[in-house]
Amino acid sequence: MHRSLISAALASLLAIGVSSPAQAQTEIQWWHAMGGALGEWVNDLAKGFNASQTEYKVVPVYKGTYDESMTAAIAAFRAGNAPHILQVFEVGTATMMASKGAIKPVGEVLKEAGFKFDPSVYVPAVVGYYTAPNGQMLSLPFNSSTTVFHYNKDAFKAAGLDPDKPPQTWPEVALAAAKLKASGHKCPFTSSWISWTQLESFSAWHNTLFATQNNGFGGLGARLVFNSPLHQRHIENLANMSKQGLFVYKGRANAADATFPSGECAMMTGSAGLYSSIKRNAKFASGISTLPYYPDVQGAPQNTVIGGASLWVMAGKKPAEYKGVANFFTYISRPEVQAASHQRTGYLPITMAAYKLTDESGFYKKNPGTDVAVTQMIRKTTDKSRGIRLGNFVQIRTIVDEEMEQVWSGKKSPKDALDSAVKRGNEQLERFEKANKL
């Protein structure tokens, strides 16, 4: 009895002795919101970095959905134990930027650790979104996606449409939808993320403002303007398609995502990140195309806007830990690591080098359509199309959902709904401006 106790004590002492070199490593907490297959990808990135050196250890922790992990980090920050790195979705960007005392700009972290920071190596539309007006990079783009058009090639064939000629414009989408419906399809067209695809990306794609002050890039005084005649025309068009059963509403956020790989809906606008799910689950041939546009609008198509998330560094940590963060960020920005991530997940590459590397490897030729998202994003952006960065954006998107639902159900006219969404959204912007003034 006694002997076994002593040996147990010895064994545990030994265990401490063995593990003590590991204790000398600087640990870096990384909170993220990637579940399932994407969670494995995040863990592999950390593993790869930890194996590449001995000084630092990155510990990824899954904290639930995007808003759950952000809420968790805010609570942790208020209690004084925030993580070092936090993954925040694009909608939370303005909130993070305004919280100057809570974050440390990534550009600063890299510079202090002795790394050279060259913004020109990054994809402009991606990095531009996460850069402050003074050129300082605030967060590291991590998993960036954009809006694309997915279509079911088999359904196209069955409806007598050319599977290699997806509709390019909205009038063509309506025609294709009518043919699909005539061939017996119950859901010719749907869309996930109504605000992101049909209003935000739609605005940039047509080189039209979604909000003033360059969509909020100019400051907190931005106000919504997505009730212009062009926006009205588009929502009216969708409402008519909805009445005729050509567009079927499938719910808020990404609820519609599941209806495309299952074959229920034949065409959909949504995230490019849906690619991996379609590839794995769809039992039909599918294609990816660019977002539809109105051909008579000058400047269209321009470029689409970014979605997805970036990595933020939290304030109040030790210099050695920041050095570790800088090393880790440099590691995941390496062209070969980036290219592997891009090909694995369907998310955009964040550096031009990673794009070139993927192109040279013949990946795009083997997987047609995977370059659509990239080519939509790497165009030169304008002030109107760089992206949309607004405070209380979570609420604004819900307001858009609420108002648009009234349109699809025929309770409100597109004009009334857009006017009301702009008015209610602007109240949110005013409140955010008040809460975050210096």
Binding site: I74, S99, G101, Y249, T398, R431
Partner: protein
């Protein structure tokens, strides 16, 4: 002989009360005080800047007609949840009280839903009624009823009421069953001998004797509908379509935990607190008079 216990020392009763008082202070009064404080503040998400704004948060709320409309939606929802929940549970309890064979199995099955988390209850019902894949919505469509809670506000309200009632029915059932079993059999037998049928026996003997239980459940169910149902709404409808199912407590949750607007969220929970306190006082002052405690 006097039954009451008398404490000779002054501190002993307080000492014995201390654990319970501590729990109430930490888990009820402290958060409530925090809510009161935050309701007069405007904060950024991380709490790095806090500004005292007086009653601005409340003024903003009551100037918003959509918020005022939430009161109407909440009233409909709470009445439906409490009404349906209590009457269905009473019906089931009366049946369970008469079951002779396999009564234990029946009763166990009735209690199960209580072990389900609200969010899971929401998801379960959402699956059954999902317009494209749900079993029940498939049957409804086959019966000629076009169910679509994504765009039809009444369908959405029905969905969350069903989920909320189902979740709470076990609780109501247990209390009714206990109440039924404590009614002396001799009373009912005497009435039967006097020639009263089952219907008459129920309304003149059983129901009045159950009134303390019913009253208690009314208070509990109203509080449940007001406070504990946000997870069901979040999982099933997210307050939509439009704002057809945005009940007050869901908006508290949404503004605080998704929108990070703590000031407004706190102000709303203070409003909710006032409503529930008022309702409970009203129930105790007026409804309780009709209760027979025998």
């Amino acid at each position: 002989m006097e039954k009451r216990v008398r404490f000779r020392s002054l501190w002993l009763p307080w000492l014995l009360l201390a654990p319970q008082l501590a729990i109430i202070l930490v888990f009820f009064f402290w958060p409530a005080a925090q809510a009161l404080l935050q309701s007069v503040q405007l904060q950024d998400a991380f709490g790095t800047s806090t500004e005292f704004v007086g009653l601005e948060n409340f003024r903003r709320l009551f100037a918003d007609e959509l918020y005022l409309d939430s009161f109407r939606i909440t009233a409909i929802f709470s009445i439906l949840v409490a009404g349906c929940g209590i009457s269905l549970a009473l019906l089931l309890a009366v049946f369970a009280d008469r079951v002779i064979r396999a009564a234990a199995v029946y009763k166990t099955l009735m209690v199960w839903p209580y072990a389900v988390a609200p969010a899971v209850a929401g998801v379960l019902w959402l699956f059954m009624f999902a317009p494209s894949i749900g079993m029940v919505s498939f049957w409804l469509r086959a019966a000629g009823f076009d169910w679509n809670h994504l765009l039809n506000g009444n369908d959405a309200m029905a969905l969350i009421v069903m989920a909320a009632v189902w979740k709470q029915i076990s609780y109501n059932f247990l209390f009714f069953l206990a109440g039924l079993q404590s009614i002396p059999k001799s009373l009912i037998e005497a009435a039967a001998i006097d020639g009263a049928g089952p219907w008459r026996r129920f309304w003149t003997i059983v129901f009045p004797l159950l009134s303390p239980t019913t009253f208690f459940l009314l208070v509990i169910n109203i509080v449940y509908a007001f406070f504990e149902t946000f997870a069901i709404v979040d999982a099933a409808t997210q307050g939509g379509p439009g704002r057809a199912t945005t009940i007050l407590v869901y908006k508290v949750y949404y503004d605080g935990f998704k929108g990070m607007d703590l000031g407004s969220s706190a102000a709303q929970s203070v409003v909710l607190m006032v409503i529930v306190i008022t309702l409970t006082v009203v129930q105790f002052r007026y409804v309780e008079k009709k209760v027979q405690y025998s």
